[in-house]
Every structure is written in structure tokens, then in C-alpha cells.
């Protein structure tokens, strides 16, 4: 006697299930308990075993079909028996096959769905989330030709359920036909829609997020490491800059000499200070302080590819003019991108000048394992009391960042004081 087997109801919310896989085909013999078919709800996969021994007389649905609960799935019985009486209404084999085709075949290339395909890849290309789609979600995606790049799955293990896709499909902004074509054609993505009911128009398209360059990535990593591995703090002070300005004026007046600028002079003074306070001309590596007798000065350099820090080796052996020439040479190479890697490493102390851009105070970030970096700020007028009168002097701001792991506040401040003294006596330090 033929026995029909129907789709059980797995839970109150389950109204239909998807035929995932037939393990037994029409005409095959099965014994009681053998799995005939796997079906899926949105939540889980279930196996339907044979309730009795017998031959599979008929399977009513193809894989991929969506079948309401309590609908006959297949019929067991003795070979030759008719199963026609158990055929569910509206489940003609042809129709079932058609449904299956939709879910199994590759979707047509023309995009039917009026949704942003944020990826410029062809509509049928597998999406990032494809692997995590539930079968019903896959079916929905195929039927609606909807392949968003990423959808948060609410199923077990982040599995994307049909419900997730459906929600995404109906909430995503509609995109005008032209905008869609341009998105498929170029490297543009949808921005906030400004058209009817928030429709994304061609004017709303924006350039996609771009990956940062290799050099930028390197800067990013070094900056993160700097903050993560040190105990940075910054001291700010200022020095009378009238000597600097006088010297600079002298340089300008005497044509033919190297064009030594304010920054060169401050660098020169800092080198002199480091020779006097060698505690800051050190590196802190693996809990050890490595002292350096030579001063190798790194200087922050703004290039089209981002920040670079060329290094002037043995800077303490150079005159102000030689220092200026070397800095200019290295800057030129860095800007052109022609600088050697050797010239970008090995500094024992670093300077960063934002004063030329009008910055009055900032917090330079350490370049570990160095323990100090000096920020050079803009020259500003500053009131000072002299003989009971208020006078204005030109004053240059200095921002010294130190690693508190090895340099305490007082020694740091003492060093900064020395730098200030050098700057204020720069005219006697170097001759033009």
C-alpha cells in the first residue's frame, strides 16, 4: 500500500520549507529510517527519513522548490503502485522544475532588481556573503537578481537568512536607471539619494572608498606603534627669536651664500643642545638605553606621498651652511621620491617644523625607539616686561615630546631650556 510522506511543521513560525537535497530518487528502495530528503527552514536543515520500507514511487518537487508544510513530498510503496492520488495540488512536476531552475541556474546578466549593486562586478558574480547564504536566501537572491556585497546575517553563525536579504532588498534606496548603469560601468558608488522618495540619481554617485597607499599604511602603523608603546608627553616653551630673525636677514642680504633658513638655524641650535645634554640623544630598545655620541638628525618632511623623515647623519660635524645644504638635498630627494632607504633611518633625534604653516603649538609624535622629538612652531609677537615696561619681542614656540619611560619632566625641561638658550644666542653660535 502506497504511503505519502508530507513536510512536517517544525515550529509555529515555519510555513514552508525548501527542498535542499534528494538522497533517494524515484524507483530506489529504502528501508525504514533511511534518509530520503533533506529540507531546510530558514533556521536549520532537517532530514526526512522513510517511515516504512519500500520503493520511492514518486517525488513531487525538485531541489530548490519551496513547499508549504503538510504538503506531500514523496510516496513510498511497492514497485508498480500508482502514487498519482497523493500528488499535491499545484505541484505539477513541470512547475516544480521551473521553480528549481530559478534557484539553481545562474541569474541572467541583466539586472532586474532596482537596487544599488554597490560592487561594479557583474550582477551574477558571487558576493562576499554568498558562502554564508541560507538556501532560501540564495533562492531569493537569484530570483531578485539581488547580490549585495555584504549583508549582516541574523542566522546561526552569522548565516544570511532570506529574511535578512528581503529586509535589505526592500529598505535599500532605489537607484535610477542611469545611476545604475554608471555604477556598473565605472567605479562610482551610491551616495545619499536626492531624487523622488530618496532615489539615488546620477548626481548622487560618489567615488568609492579607496585603499590607502603603502607608504600611508606604513606611516599609520608607525604612528599607532608610537602611541601604543611609549609614554608620550609634550612640553611647550618659547624662545626669543630676534637672533634667528637677524641672522636670517643677514643671510638674505648676503647673496651667494647658502640660503640658511630659520628651521636650519633651529636645527643647528638643537644639535648643539644635544651635545650638551646627551641624555636625550638616546634610543630606548627592549628596556635598555643606547647612548649615541653622534647626532643623527631626522626631520619631518611633507611629500606628495605623505610624511617622510630623512636623516642627516653626523649632523653635529656640520656647519650651519653645510647642514642647510644637506637638509635641502635630502628634502629634494624625498619630495621627488628618489631618496635612498638608508637616508630614511638611523636618526637619534627628530625635528618637526609646522611653524612655517602658522602652527603655534602642537604635540609631535615620537619616532621610537627615539625618546624625544622637537616641534618647531611659528614665530609670534610676545609681550615681555623689561625695566617696568611692556615690550613685544619675536618669539618662537617649541613643543618637545618625550618618552616618560626614560625621560622625566625635569630633565626634559632642562633640555628645552638649553635649546632656548642656544636659539637666543644663535648669533654667537654660528657665523654666516
Amino acid at each position: 500500500m502506497a504511503i505519502p510522506v508530507e513536510v512536517p511543521k517544525f515550529g509555529n513560525s515555519v510555513e514552508e520549507c525548501l527542498i535542499a537535497k534528494w538522497l533517494k530518487r524515484k524507483g530506489e528502495w529504502v528501508s525504514t529510517g533511511e534518509i530520503v530528503v533533506e529540507i531546510e527552514t530558514d533556521k536549520a536543515t532537517f532530514e526526512i527519513p522513510a517511515p516504512v520500507d519500500g520503493t520511492v514511487l514518486e517525488t513531487f518537487f525538485e531541489e530548490g522548490a519551496l513547499v508549504p508544510v503538510f504538503t506531500n513530498l514523496f510516496v513510498l510503496g511497492e514497485a508498480g503502485e500508482s502514487a498519482a492520488a497523493f500528488r499535491p495540488q499545484g505541484a505539477a512536476p513541470a512547475q516544480a522544475a521551473a521553480v528549481a531552475e530559478v534557484s539553481a541556474s545562474v541569474p541572467p546578466v541583466t539586472q532586474i532588481a532596482d537596487r544599488p549593486a554597490a560592487s561594479p562586478a557583474p550582477a551574477h558574480a558571487p558576493t562576499a556573503s554568498a558562502g554564508a547564504l541560507s538556501p532560501r536566501a540564495r533562492r531569493f537572491a537569484a530570483q531578485h537578481n539581488f547580490h549585495p556585497p555584504a549583508v549582516a546575517g541574523s542566522g546561526p553563525g552569522g548565516r544570511v537568512l532570506e529574511e535578512d536579504l528581503r529586509k535589505e532588498f526592500y529598505s535599500s534606496p532605489r537607484v535610477s536607471s542611469l545611476a545604475k548603469k554608471r555604477m556598473q560601468d565605472c567605479t562610482e558608488v551610491a551616495g545619499a539619494g536626492s531624487g523622488v522618495a530618496g532615489m539615488v540619481l546620477s548626481g548622487d554617485l560618489v567615488a568609492p572608498a579607496t585603499r590607502i597607499s603603502g607608504i600611508r599604511e606604513k606611516i599609520a602603523r608607525r604612528m599607532r606603534e608610537s602611541l601604543a608603546n611609549t609614554a608620550q608627553y609634550t612640553l611647550t616653551a618659547s624662545a626669543n627669536a630676534s637672533g634667528l630673525l637677524l641672522l636670517r636677514a643677514k643671510v638674505k642680504a648676503s647673496k651667494g651664500v647658502v640660503d640658511i633658513n630659520i628651521n636650519d638655524l633651529v636645527t643647528f641650535c638643537t644639535i648643539r643642545a644635544l651635545l650638551e645634554v646627551p641624555e636625550l640623544n638616546v634610543e630606548f630598545i627592549d628596556g635598555k638605553i643606547c647612548r649615541h655620541t653622534e647626532v643623527h638628525i631626522g626631520f619631518a618632511c611633507d611629500t606628495p606621498r605623505g610624511l617622510m623623515v630623512p636623516v642627516v647623519r653626523n649632523a653635529h660635524t656640520l656647519t650651519a651652511g653645510e647642514l642647510s645644504l644637506k637638509v635641502k638635498e635630502l628634502t629634494g630627494q624625498a619630495v621627488k621620491g628618489a631618496i635612498s632607504v638608508d637616508d630614511l633611518s638611523g636618526a637619534t633625534f627628530t625635528l618637526s617644523n609646522l611653524g612655517s604653516l602658522g602652527i603655534e603649538s602642537f604635540t609631535p609624535l615620537l619616532n621610537p625607539p627615539q625618546v624625544a622629538i622637537l616641534g618647531v612652531n611659528a614665530i609670534q609677537l610676545k609681550p615681555v616686561r623689561r625695566d617696568g615696561r611692556i615690550e613685544f619681542i619675536d618669539s618662537i614656540g617649541l613643543s618637545l615630546t618625550l618618552d616618560h619611560q626614560v625621560i622625566d619632566g625635569a630633565p626634559g625641561a632642562r633640555f628645552l631650556k638649553v635649546v632656548r638658550e642656544k636659539i637666543e644666542s644663535v648669533e654667537s653660535l654660528c657665523t654666516i
Partner: protein
């Protein structure tokens, strides 16, 4: 304290007031003249009732070709004016009813801004969180000697005509001038149009306006293009023709149709610091002026000078003032010239597309491809032109000349507004037989 005071009951103002009131806001609408503004009282609606009568009169002359024989026909100007008044009256009452239903308080009088949140009307002072300027426009009076004299009619005063003039001179070949040229020509007047520019209907697609010019000339209207009107003396108008030679012509009716100027005077705009020029109050796409809480819509902004644009601008302003993000988009706003045949268009003209350097494809089909057009317009002429981007086929502009085009141009407007491409638009089904099928054919013709 109101949430919104609207100054001016034009289609921009009253629709905005009703929209805000429907949102539950306390709204006052101040109007010094009649409800409905220019559009209802001395613009779109009166002009169209006149044109309906002139068209019927003209068609009666052609009735025989449809197999209808008539006796003698006569154009009864006073009756036409009376009908116009009835139509205006009905529509004005409709506006009044809508304002009442939605709970908008109507205030009659001349409003003047005295602060960014207060207006003075007579002795009364009213305050509101938002003020929407919708004061509209008035006929422009360019500095032509004699133009301001009483004998010269404009689009405000022309509707009081009691008889059919023999000879009409119209200064201006823009929308207003052309519509009146059509009207007077159809009722039997000899019409002479003077236009400063080399083309009529400035801003229209040249291929379409050239066709209109040809049709109107064939109907007996005389055009003096690239002509400069030098002065008006009584019934005589002196002008310099395109070649520069000076001449004069007389007429028993002279109509100034040189355009419209925004009404920006007497509103207290200077005192409150609202940024404006004789060309209008400056507004953003949200409807904001430079003064917080002061908004503007319609002709007073000098932006599109179309009643339906004003309505949309007003609603955009109201939405933004009460927290619903909205933005005016002009690309999909259609415009119509109600000549016979009428000219309807939306989107960019071919000249604009060329100037922008956009690669495009075009398709032009005669209106007669639609069977219904032939049925309705014996001997009628017209065409539909579709302009689409060369690469993606997006519909950039649709321009039509031919009667009934005004009734289906909105379909093209929806296509332009939603950036539909030819491939999508081709899937739209048109009722058969209708004149709109010409649009379908034109779209299918874009390759």
C-alpha cells in the same frame, strides 16, 4: 504666534499654507489682492479660458472639414470675458474652500516684514517662527519710452478687452506674447509680434520653436525678430528692424509682453536683510533665503517663473522648515506654451546639451504617427523630439509641439526626473489610440 506665515496667495503660497496646515501647523496666509495670485486671476487660467474660446471659434471655421456645417459664427468678447470670470470665480472659491478645510487663517492686507519672525499688516503685527515669501511677479516694464502709458495693455489689463481689436502689436515673443498672438490671430485680429532675440520662445528647443514660428507665420501672424522697440507714441510703435533700419507701425491695441518681474518691493526685505535683487529673492534648493526663518517660493525667487514650480518650491520649503528633508529639483519640471499647437517640454534642449558637451542621440517623429492625432487634428502638424545620452541612453529632454502634448508631457517628466533610460522607458505601455503614442514612437526611435 504662528508656525508659519505665508505672504501671497499664489499657487506657491496657498499650496504651501495648506500643506503646513495639514501637517498640524498653525498657519496664516496674507494676501492683499485676490486668492490665487497671478496664475488664477491674471495669468494661466484666464489666458487659457481665452485661448479655449479662440480655439473653438477657429475650429468652427474648420468644422466643414470634419463634416459639420455651421451657420454664421461670431466671437462675443464680453461673453468670453464673462466665462473667464466664472471659471476664475469657481477656482478661487475652490482655493478658499481648501484653505478653510485645512484650517489656514486668511488675512487680507499688505504684509511687510518688520523682523525675521514678524510682519506688519496695517496696524496689526503678526509673529511666526517661519515666514514664506510668495509674492509672485508683475508684468515687466522695460525702459521703452511710452511703454508705461495707459494705452499700452499688459497681461494684467488685457483681460478687460471688450471688443476684438483689428490690429494688435505685441512686444515680446516669449510665452505670454505668443499665447496672446495666437489668441488675437484666431479671433480675427491682425497680429504683429516684435522680439528682441533672433528666435521666439526663448529657452525652448530651437527645432521646436522654429516649427512654432513657421506654423504661426502660416496662420498670418507677422514676426519682427531681432527687432528693437524704440518707443511708443499713442497708437504708433517705433522700432529698429533686424537690419537696423527704423520704421513704425500703428495698431489699435498694443500689448506689453516683455516678461515678468519678481515683486520684491514694499516687503521690508532691506530692513530684515534678505538677500535680493530686482531679479528676485535669492534662495537655496531648500527654499531658504539668507535670513534664518525667512523662506521664499515661486516667481518672487525669479527661478523658474512657473506656477507648478512655485507649488513644488513652496512644499519643499514647508517640508524643510518642519524637519522633513526635501530639495527642489528643476530637471524634471515640465513647461508648456499654450499656443495652437501647444508646445510642451521637459529636460534639456538640444542647444543646452550641445553647450554642455554631452554626447547625445536624438529621435524626432511627427505627431501624426499617433492615429488619434490625425483623428483629432485635421491638417494638424507637430512633432515629438527625444534627446538621450549617447552612452547610457538616459532621457535628457523631451520636446513636443502639437495639441494634447501638454497632457502627456508629465510622463516624459517622470522619465527625466527618475533618470530613466530609453531601454526602460520602452517598456512603458501607452493607451491606444491616444496622441501620447507619439512619445512612445519617439522613444523607440532613439538608437
Amino acid at each position: 504666534m504662528y508656525d508659519l506665515i505665508v505672504i501671497g496667495a499664489c499657487p506657491g503660497g496657498y499650496e504651501a499654507a495648506a500643506h503646513a496646515a495639514r501637517m498640524g501647523k498653525r498657519v496664516a496666509l496674507i494676501e492683499r489682492g485676490c486668492l490665487g495670485g497671478t496664475c488664477l486671476n491674471v495669468g494661466c487660467i484666464p489666458a487659457k479660458t481665452f485661448l479655449r474660446s479662440s480655439k473653438l471659434f477657429h475650429e468652427c471655421g474648420q468644422a466643414a472639414s470634419y463634416g459639420v456645417r455651421l451657420g454664421s459664427i461670431e466671437f462675443d468678447m464680453p461673453a468670453v470675458v464673462a466665462r473667464k470670470n466664472r471659471v476664475v470665480d469657481t477656482l478661487t472659491k475652490g482655493v478658499e474652500g481648501m484653505l478653510k478645510r485645512t484650517g489656514v487663517e486668511s488675512i487680507t492686507g499688505h504684509a511687510r516684514l518688520i523682523a525675521r519672525n514678524a510682519v506688519q499688516v496695517g496696524a496689526e503685527r503678526y509673529e511666526a517662527a517661519n515666514i514664506l515669501l510668495a509674492t509672485g511677479s508683475r508684468p515687466a516694464k522695460p525702459p521703452i519710452p511710452g511703454l508705461a502709458s495707459e494705452g499700452v495693455l499688459d497681461s494684467d489689463t488685457v483681460f478687460a478687452l471688450t471688443r476684438v481689436p483689428e490690429r494688435v502689436v505685441i512686444i515680446g515673443g516669449g510665452v505670454i506674447g505668443l499665447e496672446f498672438a495666437c489668441f488675437f490671430s484666431e479671433i480675427g485680429s491682425k497680429v504683429i509680434v516684435f522680439e528682441m532675440l533672433p528666435n521666439i520662445a526663448a529657452g525652448s528647443d530651437l527645432e521646436i520653436s522654429s516649427r512654432l514660428l513657421h506654423i504661426m507665420k502660416r496662420a498670418g501672424i507677422e514676426f519682427n525678430l531681432s527687432a528693437k522697440v524704440l518707443g511708443i507714441d499713442g497708437n504708433t510703435i517705433r522700432y529698429a528692424a533686424s537690419g537696423g533700419s527704423e520704421s513704425s507701425v500703428s495698431a489699435d491695441c498694443i500689448l506689453n509682453a516683455t516678461g515678468r518681474s519678481p515683486v520684491v518691493d514694499g516687503l521690508g526685505l532691506e530692513e530684515v536683510g534678505v538677500d535680493f535683487s530686482p531679479k528676485g529673492v535669492k534662495t537655496s534648493d531648500l527654499g531658504k533665503t539668507n535670513v534664518a526663518g525667512v523662506w521664499a517660493c515661486g516667481d518672487v525667487t525669479g527661478r523658474r517663473m512657473l506656477a507648478h514650480a512655485a507649488t513644488r518650491e513652496g512644499i519643499v520649503a514647508v517640508n524643510n522648515m518642519f524637519g522633513k528633508k526635501d530639495r527642489i529639483r528643476y530637471q524634471g519640471i515640465p513647461s508648456v506654451i499654450y499656443t495652437h499647437p501647444e508646445v510642451s517640454s521637459v529636460g534639456k534642449t538640444e542647444e543646452e546639451i550641445k553647450a554642455l558637451g554631452i554626447e547625445y542621440k536624438k529621435s524626432v517623429v511627427p505627431m501624426a504617427v499617433a492615429g488619434r492625432f490625425l483623428v483629432e487634428h485635421d491638417g494638424g502638424t507637430g512633432m515629438v523630439k527625444v534627446l538621450a545620452g549617447a552612452r547610457f541612453g538616459e532621457i535628457l529632454g523631451v520636446h513636443a509641439i502639437g495639441d494634447a502634448s501638454s497632457e502627456f508631457i508629465v510622463a516624459a517628466a517622470a522619465m527625466v526626473e527618475t533618470e530613466m533610460c530609453v531601454s526602460d522607458a520602452s517598456e512603458i505601455v501607452y493607451p491606444h489610440p491616444t496622441v501620447s503614442e507619439a512619445l512612445r514612437e519617439a522613444i523607440l526611435g532613439v538608437h
